[in-house]
Symmetry: C2
Subunit: 359 residues, 2 copies
């Protein structure tokens, strides 16, 4: 089988640099979203991602890119990761520099490498379909295409970018992408949903390392030239060059910088139960619930559809409340209606002056 | 002045044996209600009671009666109390045995003693009127009457006992009591409120030590005989005799055992802002509030009329919630609508099996 032939060239790139103050007080600057068990699965989102990928890509060919301040914590939580597979960014400059570095680093090992690029903080419920989708995307990418995953929308969400696809069907049943659309307003989102020709952009990609670097050269020449010295450098020169590359590199997403401009873009249907776990609302939706719709360890008395999270053994009693998020971490406590949990981010900023230690 | 003449015979008896699971998780078996700052005054209820009394009765003549398990904690919190003024009950048997013991103990010091008997876990907002009411009650009690304090009701409360008073006016403007009524149903409570002839029983009393022991002899002979040996005992015999007295004594309140049956009962209007601080609802009512009606240290974002209590420095954020009680103690957390806070007691009992350490 063709895909079997390619497998030894499969590399996973996990972008694990996020912060995620929307999950405060559970998430902190030093404990971002990917390290949390936000889907109630008994493991962190990062662990879940690694587990799903491991069926297709061994840990030896899995690269995690994160900010240097999270490097130690990441290695601690993924002890089987070969240390050279952790790329610690000197600065956070969005996804384009992150992918450029990963592509260069992997190309040094394998000029034929094909990259699966994932975020570390999403959740996938159907591992088997996920792997099937990845294999189809690999087929589409093996011929030089830049492949993204599109989630079939089930509501007029205004918080995601959209992908419009055309009729042309390529390898792996991938659809030709007509255009990327930034987060739309409500009216547009409803029109997209109606049309049946738009998918949510999940921010995950598959492409050959050479293909993405070529596309970066064409559409982000500044970024390409910042990282160009890495291609011919000796191993011992790399740390200094990377420092310089990040200093020069523009801060931009791969979506804006490349995918929206390049021609050879394909989308594979992400029919594997994907969620970006963007708020406590989503966390509640994903987690196992009791008969009254409550999530978490607490004594619920006439209480419904609440989410409780605590970091320690603690006697928590909720009486007569509904649709609340209650998160306790010893040094901090949040109480907010589930549907208003997106307001946490702003509130935490106001807290900074009084409680710098809990940010 | 006559009351000046009597002052050297004034004794305060503070009944400080309560448990108060209604304030869980702040209150515990070993940290009952009287030790908590439930009125938001920066001091415990017990400290507040002692402060008000000190204007009338010096600490040398102030007796605190509590269960032996709370004796050490009580002395720790009232370090200026002479240790011999702490009566540590071997068993909790309601208020009648408690008052019988206190009366015997004080009579040994002063046969003319006049007792002010208070609960330790109430709150008084107007200290000056409180002292005036106590002086009037002392006048009424100095002639042998048993005097209670009656709070003018402002709502048809079904949680308190009531006192019906008559037309006869005695010394200190005290009114003759016609009868005590147990906690009424709603219809009766409304009739009482309408009539203008009923007061709430605040569970506080003033009487001469000899008068109350005589009344106990008449109406609770079993209790009287249990404590009778104390009258003529030597100091060193007391501990054993008290142990025996409590073993024999019936468990009954002084209201049921004596006040409801005796003849010479008077009531003084308690116009001093009395509250029994019976629930978190009351605690919220008494405490200082911010402009949105919130009580406690937290970041309140679009949140109104909440009460937050925490035992430690903790970053607490409430967003978009109203009329909630949120109490955090490190090992336990309670979230309940203010108007349902009376359900805490029952919930805590259900918690016992899982978290015996937080009861």
């Amino acid at each position: 089988m063709q895909s079997e032939l390619h497998r030894k060239h499969f590399y996973a790139v996990i972008m694990a640099g996020g912060s995620g103050t929307r999950f405060w007080p559970l998430s902190r600057k030093t404990l971002p979203k990917q390290f949390l068990d936000l889907a109630g699965q008994g493991k962190s989102l990062l662990e879940g991602v690694l587990e799903h990928i491991s069926a297709l890509v061994p840990i030896e060919r899995t690269i995690i890119v994160t900010h240097k301040s999270l490097a130690v914590e990441t290695l601690k939580r993924v002890p089987h990761l070969p240390p050279q597979n952790l790329l610690a960014e000197p600065q956070s400059k969005n996804t384009a520099p992150c992918i450029a570095w990963a592509a260069h680093a992997i190309l040094r090992r394998d000029p034929e490498a094909l990259l699966f690029v994932f975020t570390a903080d999403h959740f996938v419920s159907d591992g088997v379909r996920y792997q099937q989708a990845l294999e189809r995307a690999a087929l589409a990418a093996s011929e030089g295409g830049l492949v993204t995953f599109g989630v079939v929308p089930n509501r007029p969400e205004t918080g995601y970018g959209y992908i419009e696809f055309g009729d042309e069907i390529g390898p792996g049943e991938a659809r030709r992408v007509i255009r990327f659309v930034e987060k739309p307003d409500r009216a547009k989102a409803e029109a997209f949903l109606q049309s049946g020709r738009y998918l949510w952009n999940s921010g995950q990609f598959v492409f050959r390392a050479q293909a993405i670097l070529k596309a970066i050269e064409a559409h982000m020449p500044e970024l390409a030239s910042a990282f160009e010295p890495l291609a011919s450098a000796k191993e011992e020169e790399l740390p200094g060059l990377i420092e310089m590359a990040y200093a020069k590199a523009p801060s931009q997403s791969i979506d804006h910088g490349v995918m929206e401009k390049a021609q050879n873009i394909w989308v594979v249907m992400a029919d594997f139960g994907w969620s970006d776990v963007g708020s406590w609302t989503t966390a509640w939706e994903l987690a196992p619930k009791d008969a009254q719709g409550n999530v978490g360890e607490a004594l619920f008395v006439d209480a419904r559809r609440n989410l409780v999270h605590t970091s320690a053994r603690k006697a928590i009693v909720l009486i007569g409340v509904e649709d609340l998020v209650v998160v306790d971490t010893g040094d901090a406590l949040l109480v907010v209606p589930r549907e208003r949990s997106q307001e946490v981010k702003e509130a935490v900023q106001r807290l900074g002056g009084l409680f710098p230690e809990v940010l």
